[in-house]
């Protein structure tokens, strides 16, 4: 089985999993925060935030990638600061691939969490307040457990999206084997050279298997969590 994929292909699979996992876990707190702000708070600029969150869903991925390069690239406004102050470089690194994947998957994550937040009855949160729970305690003990199925669904959706991200990734961090070459970039690269169809085909199978597995897992986890929270 291990021989079935070549070392280059293995590297792409492993890198894809790592990029997607880091992208999902790192963006989850922000996803919950953004969903909470959009669902519950009324503040000036709410529509602007909503638009910003959804922009990657609508823009051509290559545009998102280019914008990332402009801002997070070495000479970019944020990228230069990160490099100067913290020595963090995102452009042409796997961390940059994770950032691109996270941003592309963000709208899907936020939508799923926001939907489940809107289904939580604020009257339950009021009841918790009269029982002495502070805002933070209410969120931790009432809101979060009740939206857990939505959070899990959103995270898995984001993971699947991050796994398949191509356009923004290749624009922002290019296609460097072992560094930024995820499964989709690898498939693209193999298809560019004569005789690469077999390698590309194997990665396509891996892609399909991973996507199916993520889908089944999300169904199963969502159902298990829903049972646990009694929703």
């Amino acid at each position: 089985m291990a021989d079935w994929l070549g070392p280059e292909e293995w590297r792409a699979v492993a890198l894809s999993l790592r990029v997607a996992l880091v992208a999902t876990l790192a963006s989850l707190p922000f996803g919950i925060l953004a969903a909470y702000a959009l669902a519950r708070w009324r503040f000036p600029g709410r529509q602007a935030l909503n638009g910003l969150v959804h922009l990657p869903l609508i823009l051509p991925p290559v545009v998102t990638g280019y914008l990332l390069l402009l801002t997070f690239g070495r000479k970019g406004w944020i990228g230069a600061t990160l490099d100067e102050w913290f020595g963090i470089v995102l452009a042409f690194r796997w961390t940059g691939a994770a950032l691109a994947a996270a941003i592309m998957a963000f709208p899907l994550m936020v939508r799923a969490i926001r939907l489940s937040l809107e289904a939580v009855d604020p009257k339950l949160e009021e009841a918790a307040a009269t029982l002495g729970a502070s805002r933070f305690s209410i969120f931790a003990t009432i809101t979060l457990p009740l939206i857990l199925p939505g959070v899990v669904a959103g995270a898995i959706l984001a993971f699947a999206k991050a796994l398949g991200e191509f356009g923004a990734t290749i624009t922002f961090v290019s296609n460097i084997p072992g560094q930024t070459q995820t499964i989709p970039s690898a498939i693209y690269a193999f298809l560019q050279v004569p005789g690469g169809e077999a390698q590309a085909g194997r990665l396509v199978l891996v892609s399909v298997a991973l996507a199916m597995a993520a889908l089944l897992l999300s169904e199963w986890v969502a159902r298990a969590v829903a049972r646990r929270v009694g929703a």
């Binding site: 009855d121 009257k123 339950l124 009021e126 009841a127 918790a128 307040a129 009269t130 029982l131 002495g132 729970a133 502070s134 805002r135 305690s137 003990t141 009432i142 457990p145 009740l146 646990r228 929270v229 009694g230 929703a231």
Partner: protein, 362 residues
Amino acid sequence: MSLSVRLAHSFAGFALDLAFEAPAGVTALFGRSGSGKTTIVNAVAGLLRPNAGRIEAEGVTLFDSETGLFVPPHRRRIGYVFQEARLFPHLSVRANLLYGRRFAPRGEAGAEFARIVDLLGVGALLSRRPGGLSGGERSRVALGRAILSKPRLLLMDEPLAALDEARKAEIMPYLERLRDEIRLPILYVSHSAAEIARLATTVVMIEGGRVAAAGPAVEMMADPAAAPAFGLREAGALLPARVEAQEADGLTRLASRAGPLWLPRIEAPPGATLRVRILAQDVMLALGRPEAVSALNILPAKVAEIRIGEGPGALVRLDAGGEALLARVTRRSAAALGLEPGREVFAVIKAVSVAPGAVGAG
């Protein structure tokens, strides 16, 4: 041991402007739907910030628009029993009951878990989820949850409104026990005269966002002027009485300042003090002591006040040995008997007209 409320608040098309005091015991906010009762309770709980006013509970100021003080709901320590229970669906009954405990100040004496579970009869439900509970069970768990958060005051917003008559009758004794055993001041919202007659020590009548009348429940229920608000068929005085004996033919003999009273069997030991609600429409008046009638209860009384209604009826407040009774008769009868304040009469009450639900713990 009291709550003092003064508030002004306006919504689109509705303005609230009132002040009242709630002494120890159960203070009922009575009024029809839309009169502003829930707004008042929400303001006391801190779920709503009124435009102006001042709220003080047990000597602690919770809200004062002049100084800009507004204590957030979770720091007020005011238990709130909502109309729709609002149990947390993802927690077991036990976890629901204990939810407020972790936020309550440590070391402070509060109601004991085992005692409340026992008092409310929810012991068999502890490991269950709220989803599978009946309406009456939910109400009891919601009550227990509020009490166990060690509140200094309890708010109840029509906690029985969502229940059918049988469930109401099931919960009522628990509420009475709470009132008498836990001794928490309770602000109780209701539009049911029957509930108020059973529970209230003080009644604050709300009409269109204002206090129409307020006073001790026994006085309010016997006030002919307040009767139209309670509903003429629902109006009736509260008679404090003590159980004397259970008699062999199924009747219970009670003693009251107005005289002896026989009622269909009441499940209470001799010596127990009760509050009997005698509906005004069930009281017949006679000038002489009636002979050879089936009615068992004939109480000598003096007419204290007559209020002629707009229709054919009149409401008569009687003084029977220092207790008040309310009788509803026709204007024609009032004229025929020559009823006027000071007139000696006999109040005739059929034993069976007093329903079991009309007898509450005193």
